[in-house]
Assembly symmetry: C2
Homo-oligomer: 222 residues x 2
């Protein structure tokens, strides 16, 4: 009591609304232009989020405002930048043959901040609506330093995919993770974990089942 509230809140690195299958995969095998999540069906995996009022891609009114909506409406709060892996940005591999591909999200990407796409292959930055994509080569700490600066004091969202999240976890750079475990079983694909218990040496965990069928896992640093 009597102390002043800290003027400089810490700048967190947050994973949010990342959905994995019941067996721990963030995407299936065989990503392509037609199948961004490989053999996984995004309509099944992300049904919990798409049904909420605050889903960023919602085009009509309505939607639920219960537990699942608490997470979709937190997506943009105090976020100043996003980091994503190249396979979240697109299905291409190797050097860019052209610069026509501008992500899966059309002319109005749902990020509204600078986005740092991790890739070994150079490409100029470009802007779509109020989202600017930068293409950056470097280890997680180096990329994070750039994203933190761009975020201007706000938090950095680590957008995935699973491989990128693993790299940042292994480097000890993630402050909070929200992972929705879907009842769908994939059998193979891009793995986030064998079990959420792998993180319990370093994180607190609240496990919260939702009426929609997913189980929300909320991790924060010990």
């Amino acid at each position: 009591m009597g102390q002043e509230r800290p003027k400089q809140p810490e700048q967190l690195v947050r994973v949010q609304n990342f959905t994995v299958s019941s067996d721990g995969f963030g995407a299936g095998e065989g990503q392509s232009l037609e199948r961004p999540f490989g053999h996984a069906e995004p309509g099944e995996m992300f049904a919990w989020a798409g049904a909420t009022a605050s889903w960023p891609n919602r085009t009509d009114p309505g939607g639920s405002r219960g537990l699942d909506d608490c997470f979709t409406r937190d997506f943009a709060r105090n976020i100043g930048a996003e980091i994503m892996g190249r396979n979240k940005f697109g299905p291409q591999r190797g050097p860019w043959t052209d610069h026509e591909w501008r992500g899966w999200w059309g002319d109005e990407p749902p990020f509204h901040t600078p986005v740092f796409v991790m890739t070994h292959h150079k490409r100029p930055s470009f802007t779509l609506s109020d989202t600017t994509f930068h293409f950056v080569d470097g280890d997680p700490a180096t990329v994070l330093a750039r994203a933190r600066e761009a975020a201007d004091g706000k938090d950095v969202r680590l957008g995935g995919g699973a491989t990128t999240i693993r790299e940042f976890l292994d480097a000890g750079l993630v402050d909070t993770l929200h992972v929705a475990v879907s009842p769908v079983r994939l059998g193979s694909g891009v793995r986030l974990w064998e079990s959420p218990e792998e993180l319990l040496d370093r994180y607190h965990l609240d496990v919260v089942p939702s009426p929609s069928g997913v189980t929300h896992h909320l991790f924060w640093r010990k």
Copy 2:
């Protein structure tokens, strides 16, 4: 698909982080200057919120970032005004004998928006830091119209107490309610409900137990 996202999202009336005892009371009996919640112990009732990183009154770093924090960090998101009953503002009854009392919250109230205090007794508005308190006489719909205008397109928080929330519920003016049911039993006091089931004719409900011991109840309109 292909539709534009609505440019004018609806302006909601939201109850948030309102805590009641297991037997449905928002406060105990015998409110006084020393006991804002009467015979209820606020340290017990609100322990779930005070333990979180995003609790507005937190003065030191730290705190949990799990399920309970999802609710405390949503407190200010897109809120443009608050409405409260006079007994949330202070322990006085009847005409104001002086204007020295400026609420329970010290020089930095946690609202940061206009606040409309419902009272039959006139009093001039005043400002503390970035919160301005207005004292308004009128039925819920009239007071809400003023708060909506002041909120400038953002949502209106209905702050309580239980009697004020009941009045707005009875008038059909509440869009979403988040009520945390604490394991504390009070026996008597200011009642919100006999049972949350009373609202099920008009609202959807997600019931979400928290590891902290409270059970979050999330209502939204059918």
